[in-house]
């Protein structure tokens, strides 16, 4: 598996992870594009024989944290966003999205960042606890406790049907 075809093959999953992290689909695709560009620039740092997907996820996650930070800074300068007004998120027109996606994205965006990324990597992306801990440079116990808090909160946010 060379870098180029590996990157192309990872795109659908990277987009999904971006949707877990972002507020809406447009943000998610911007984040995916930024990740691709960063990955191409840093490709010499990827060691063949190691997992390309984890490497790409890690780049995306770090970029997203940077974006979230700068957004938080500019939000302080500008008018505050309507808190909690995230229920009206629409998936991009024409997107073949499930009806549930907008609702789930809204609920995910109600989680603290550090819980959301763990929930996304384990429950949506299907990584194991250990792989997630390695990707995030966290002790496995921290991953496990964030996952507990995140999924309990998410169950409350999504609600019983």
């Amino acid at each position: 598996m060379d870098f180029d075809s590996g990157l192309t093959q990872c795109l659908p999953r990277l987009r999904r992870f971006a949707h877990s992290l972002s507020r809406d689909s447009a943000d998610a695709d911007d984040l995916t594009q930024a990740t691709i560009e960063r990955a191409l620039l840093a490709r010499a740092q990827w060691r063949p024989g190691t997992r390309l997907d984890s490497w790409l996820y890690r780049i995306m996650r770090n970029l997203w944290i940077d974006t979230a930070r700068s957004r938080a800074r500019s939000a302080k300068r500008e008018a505050p966003p309507e808190a909690g007004d995230s229920v009206g998120i629409d998936p991009r027109p024409g997107m073949e999205a499930s009806i549930d996606l907008a609702r789930i994205m809204a609920a995910m965006s109600g989680l603290p960042d550090e819980q959301r990324e763990v929930v996304a990597l384990i429950l949506v992306e299907g990584f194991g606890y250990r792989e997630t801990a390695e990707m995030l440079d966290l002790p496995i116990g921290t991953v496990s406790s964030r996952l507990v808090r995140g999924r309990n909160a998410l169950l409350d946010l999504v609600g019983e049907r």
């Binding site: 093959q9 659908p12 490709r43 789930i104 429950l123 299907g126």
Partner: protein
């Protein structure tokens, strides 16, 4: 009493067999824990289902262009040296279809389990057979089908030399290949409504499963004698 972390580690298939069995016993004895497990399995299934269409839909052009070095403006010198002609797009599409089936698999998995041990668990980020499904893959023969539980379809070797078997259970059919000490799930497809009772053919009526078998098989599927021999050799 089990703590939250242990409970969820059990639910996620992260415990070793002995720990898992002890949590399993505690959950079996506690209706409140059973409700909780059910609610959280449903939540995980709903998350998977909500995000799954993203993996299945075509990647927007601007992203696939950005990912092919030719279309990118940010190639550095080292990258340019490594540049190769880009692969045909079908590789990515094939992969996307595969990932989509795996995502469906998690949902289907929670359906098959009926509240008991999940037939498919995550190990090191891979989906592997567990419980009744794993047992069936190790022991059952297509030539001696059982009326209950998982039915085995075709057995064959894939291009990497791994032993693979197609299977069908309540509501789903799939393909698992034996690698290391696990049966890794290569694909899992939800059976359409009303299909389950007629699910008798070797590879099943699901064209996606047949396609997956076609794409991975090396040579011919095993006959009854070869199947028996191959399964005996695993033990």
């Amino acid at each position: 009493m089990i703590d939250d972390e242990q409970f969820f580690a059990w639910l996620d298939g992260e415990l070793d067999p002995a720990e898992a069995a002890s949590v399993e016993a505690m959950v079996a004895a506690d209706p409140a824990l059973q409700r909780r497990a059910k609610a959280h399995r449903a939540l995980a299934g709903r998350l998977q289902a909500a995000f799954e269409p993203i993996v299945r839909e075509a990647v927007p052009g601007r992203l696939s262009e950005a990912a092919s070095p030719r279309g990118s403006e940010v190639i550095d010198f080292a990258a340019a040296q490594h540049q190769r002609p880009s692969r045909p797009k079908s590789v990515g599409l094939q992969w996307a279809a595969m990932a989509a089936t795996l995502a469906i698999g998690l949902v289907a998995g929670s359906m098959i389990s009926g509240g008991g041990v999940s037939p498919i668990v995550q190990e090191d980020g891979r989906l592997v057979a567990s419980g009744e499904l794993e047992q069936a893959l190790y022991t059952r023969l297509a030539s001696a089908p059982s009326d209950e539980g998982t039915r085995i379809g075709l057995t064959y070797r894939d291009k990497g030399g791994n032993l693979c078997r197609s299977f069908a259970g309540a509501g789903a059919a799939g393909l698992a290949c034996h690698q290391g000490r696990d049966w890794r799930i290569r694909g899992l497809f939800e059976a359409g409504e009303g299909q389950q009772s007629e699910f008798r053919m070797a590879s099943g009526p699901d064209p996606r499963l047949a396609e997956l078998i076609d794409a991975t098989i090396a040579g011919e599927p095993f006959d009854a004698a070869a199947e028996r021999q191959a399964i005996a050799a695993l033990r």
